[in-house]
């Protein structure tokens, strides 16, 4: 928990720094005259990973996950983008011990709203995704919840119950930034709001977590997430 907060704080600080540096660039734009010749844009597939998932895998004993992110420039402002990943999340209280495990992919578009000063290639973007996950849920242990403490202790049901081949579909909108820190290497951060469109819920149980979507709050179809991306553009051509 504390480690998670430290990670969050670290990332927030990084983003603020990125904002400041982007702001500095914007100010410069206004001062320059447009005497720069032949502006070109770099095209090519940009691949990377989500550093938050790596950090959580290292520090959070109830979580492991890995995600590959990718995008490809279509026009000056439009990018086709997506993520593919795998996650495992354990949930444990005094009454329930459960594991969710599965894979997901997301596909959609990003739109860059930022006007770069040539030859910079930074992004302030918004985008949307459609996500799909295939996963399993396992109840490892359960203990009946009682308010009365009269007959204690309640025996633990250690009978493992696995619900396989569950799936979910959701939509996401995101806002983020991406900055080229050295040639073709980008750091970025984005926030995502998600809406669960459909899910297979197990009989007499519920999906507590959906890989790629995140934690499910009771009777709530809204989810959220954020990621810190490190990515590299494999340059194909300039135009």
């Amino acid at each position: 928990m504390i480690q998670q907060r430290i990670t969050t704080f670290f990332i927030s600080s990084c983003l603020l720094l990125l904002c400041v540096s982007l702001q500095a660039q914007t100010n410069k734009t206004e001062a320059k005259t447009d005497s720069i010749p032949a502006k070109t844009l770099k095209y090519g597939i940009r691949l990377g990973t989500d550093a938050i998932k790596l950090a959580r895998t290292a520090f959070d004993e109830n979580y492991s996950g890995f995600e590959i992110i990718g995008d490809y420039r279509l026009t000056k402002r439009w990018f086709v983008a997506g993520e593919i990943g795998t996650e495992q999340k354990d949930f444990e209280t005094d009454y329930l011990n459960q594991t969710t495990k599965g894979n997901y992919f997301k596909a959609g578009f990003d739109y860059n709203m930022h006007d770069n000063l040539f030859p910079l290639d930074n992004m302030i973007f918004s985008g949307f995704r459609v996500g799909y996950s295939n996963f399993s849920q396992t109840i490892n242990e359960s203990t009946i919840y009682t308010v009365s403490q009269y007959w204690q202790p309640t025996p633990v049901n250690t009978n493992e119950r696995e619900f396989k081949n569950l799936s979910a579909i959701w939509a996401e909108v995101l806002m983020g930034i991406k900055a080229e820190v050295i040639n073709n290497l980008y750091l970025g951060l984005n926030l995502r709001l998600k809406y669960l469109v459909s899910e297979d819920a197990p009989d007499n149980f519920a999906n507590l977590y959906i890989p790629g979507f995140n934690k499910i709050y009771e009777d709530n179809k809204i989810g959220a997430g954020f990621s810190y991306s490190i990515s590299y553009r494999i340059p194909v051509y300039k135009k």
Partner: protein, 185 residues
């Protein structure tokens, strides 16, 4: 510039809200029910009849007397049942005294020679437990199926509970808002 401010603001809120909501089972959730038992008149079988100076105690070496039912006059008791792993036949036993009193044996200052008087009967409640999912924080609650009660006398004082019957056939206890069983005396 607007975008930058918007994003920084969003980030700030994410950063401060990243402490997860505690996973605590809310008290407003209906969880494992207790069993509701009414005492009725054995002749006029629809009239509640008070049990004088009742005392209810779970039969288990460590169990204490239930505080609400220690020498009080009641027409209804609400008692918890023993929970076990699901799908197995489980029993809960209570010793129920009528006219319970502690006789001080003529020596009010000396509690070592006190003894209990009254008429104890033992009820045995048998049932099968099913797990019912509530929420992530509460986990599962119990539901009790095929509930039945048998009554036996504990010593030679004779049965004071003369008859018993469930309010429904194939009684299932899934909440504790209505009476589940009637005991006649």
């Amino acid at each position: 510039m607007k975008h930058l401010k918007f994003i920084s603001l969003c980030l700030f809120f994410i950063a401060i809200s990243s402490c997860e909501k505690d996973d605590i089972c809310s008290e407003s959730k209906a969880t494992t029910p207790n069993m509701v038992i009414d005492f009725l008149d054995v002749v006029d079988r629809e009239t509640p009849k008070s049990v004088t100076r009742i005392r209810v105690k779970g039969i288990n070496p460590d169990n204490e007397v239930i505080a609400e039912y220690n020498g009080t006059n009641v027409t209804q008791i609400i008692v918890p049942l023993v929970n076990n792993v699901p799908d197995e036949e489980t029993i809960t036993q209570y010793q129920i005294y009528k006219d319970f009193e502690i006789d001080d044996n003529g020596t009010p200052d000396d509690s070592s020679d006190d003894f209990e008087t009254g008429n104890p009967d033992i009820i045995t409640i048998s049932y099968v437990i099913k797990e019912v999912y509530v929420s992530a924080a509460c986990g599962f609650k119990a539901k009790y199926e095929n509930v039945s009660i048998t009554v036996e006398d504990e010593n030679t004082t004779g049965l004071w509970i003369l008859d018993q019957e469930p309010t429904l056939d194939n009684l299932t206890i899934s909440d504790d808002t209505t009476t589940h069983y009637n005991l006649f005396h």
